[in-house]
């Protein structure tokens, strides 16, 4: 076996999160950064996201996914970051020991001084939403269909029913249509779309694809291949109403029913996960509950915008550099509490307020004319008025660095959305 590798930082995953973290760490002075990617190229999921709408915050221009990825790939090639492609991380222990495998070196043992987790997220499948019926071919997640069409050049079907109105499902409704398939309709369990309005308008309305809110698929028909689905309206408890059932012939059921942060490795390393986000608890540097292991992007929580993924990655990359170069020890962290109409907040803990801290949070329900604000022991630190807030659109609020010389010790931070705004 080869000698154990001992880089200053190992970044696991080279999607937008891993690329952003490796670049930031390199920029902050780490000379020995290793970026580990299982695919044959960099970029993660971005190369298959061929639609536009990326980069409006980070680059102040509207780009497609492949273009956004290429900006970072070009930049990272100008650094001395070591890129390990076709390399799969098999395990990561609490002692930070990483076991990976590739076709050139076989098993690779890595003992880095710090780690950034950037594994992204996975799609929920029919089994995770418990769709009854037969188990034929032709039930596919929206992201898998996106890969088939945009990367492989394969059509998953010709007559499509889409369950779930998350952004990828909406994007795929348009994509299927442009490729000549017929999208019978998009069915959404909730009484509001899961994706952003721009996608409802530009992916469904532009192509006259019907959106059926408060509907679900109650049965999948077909022994070998999907032949039809039964759809039904749901009641207040989100259960299908038998009397509203309708038989819809189709050859493909495409699912856009949510994303879950991918944390199998994190669990092995003993990192504590937040049951609400399904990602690691992190602090203001994106450091997890294990010292020296950081996390960013969709492995932490599912961000709506790649721009926010990049921002969180830059924080994690700089945090890892600081950890390695300055040997920083964490202060006792303060808990961040989700207050009124806030479902969750990232970061969940803050150790230091002597720097700008980005708080990302989602509301529980839509609300008009509100102020979203951050409080330290009841005292407002920062806030912003919003005309309207909705669960699919994540909010970001930054607090400015506090002058720590005041010596005041904060006990609790709260993020809340309260009535009173524009």
């Amino acid at each position: 076996m080869k000698k154990t590798r001992k880089p200053q930082l190992a970044v696991i995953g080279a999607g937008p999160a891993g690329l952003g973290a490796a670049l930031a760490a390199s920029g902050a002075g780490l000379r020995d950064v290793m970026l580990i990617e299982r695919d044959f190229e960099l970029g993660g999921i971005l190369p298959q996201c061929i639609h536009d709408g990326f980069g409006s915050i980070v680059f102040k221009e509207v780009m497609t996914g492949p273009e956004y990825a290429q900006r970072f790939v070009e930049e990272i090639r100008r650094t001395d970051v070591e890129i390990m492609l076709n390399t799969m991380v098999l395990d990561m222990g609490p002692d930070m020991r990483i076991t990976a495998v590739n076709d050139r070196e076989g098993i690779v043992e890595i003992e880095p001084e710090s780690i950034v987790l950037a594994m992204g997220c996975r799609e929920r499948t029919r089994h995770q939403v418990m769709l009854p019926g037969f188990r034929p071919a032709g039930v596919i997640t929206a992201g898998a269909a996106q890969r088939d069409i945009n990367i492989e050049g394969l059509m998953p079907g010709r007559k499509i029913v889409i369950l779930g109105s998350g952004d990828i499902g909406l994007i795929m409704a348009r994509r299927f249509t442009l490729e000549g398939a017929r999208v019978e309709g998009v069915y959404e369990l909730m009484d509001h779309p899961g994706g952003i309005t721009r996608n409802v308008v530009q992916c469904l309305r532009d192509f006259e694809i019907p959106l059926h809110l408060s509907h679900t698929v109650s049965f999948i028909h077909g022994r070998k291949r999907v032949e039809a689905v039964t759809v039904a309206e749901v009641d207040a408890d989100l259960k299908p109403r038998k009397e509203t059932e309708r038989f819809v012939p189709c050859d493909t059921l495409c699912l856009s029913v949510g994303l879950i942060p991918e944390n199998e490795l994190s669990k092995h390393a003993g990192i504590q996960l937040d049951p609400v986000t399904a990602g690691p608890f992190v602090d203001e540097r994106m450091e997890t509950t294990v010292d020296g292991i950081f996390a960013c992007g969709n492995v932490v929580n599912v961000f709506d915008l790649v721009d926010y993924v990049t921002h969180s990655a830059q924080v994690a990359g700089r945090g890892a550099a600081e950890y390695v170069l300055q040997g920083r020890k964490r202060q006792s962290p303060v808990k961040v509490v989700a207050g009124r109409n806030v479902k969750y907040v990232v970061p969940q803990f803050v150790s230091d307020l002597n720097r700008d801290v980005d708080f990302y949070f989602r509301v529980e329900h839509p609300e008009r004319a509100v102020t979203a604000r951050i409080l330290a022991d009841g005292k407002p630190l920062a806030g912003k008025k919003h005309k309207m807030v909705r669960p699919p659109e994540m909010l970001k609020q930054t607090t400015e660095a506090l002058d720590v010389s005041t010596g005041e010790k904060t006990r609790e931070l709260t993020v809340e959305v309260i009535p009173g705004g524009e």
């Binding site: 044959f40 492609l85 308008v201 309207m388």
Partner: protein
Amino acid sequence: MANKHDFVCINCPMSCSLELTEENGEILEVTGNDCKIGKRYAEEEFKDPRRVVTTTVSVRSGSLPMLPVRSAEAIPKRLITDAVKSLEGIVVDAPVKLDQVVLEDVAGTGVNIIASRDLASASIQPNT
């Protein structure tokens, strides 16, 4: 006779339901908008709605079989389907460079279809 057209504003989470009234193509009124942006959006969506078109074309001997492409600028919405159809059968030879023109003046719009990424030849791994 006055006609009414419905739009949903996409500029902020308010998602205002807009109603535009016109007579013989002349806009008389926009209602339902909470701000000026909504009024302008409804007017543009009525007069000249445009979209950036994104799709894929086949690649010969590339590291991947498909190349993502886009219209260099937004084109009229009604020409989206024509634009995608006119790309049928186009095969690009690898290697491809970002922004390389794949088709000029798509569907008579004066806008080019360009590559959304670099794509290496099959034998060359793109990032090593």
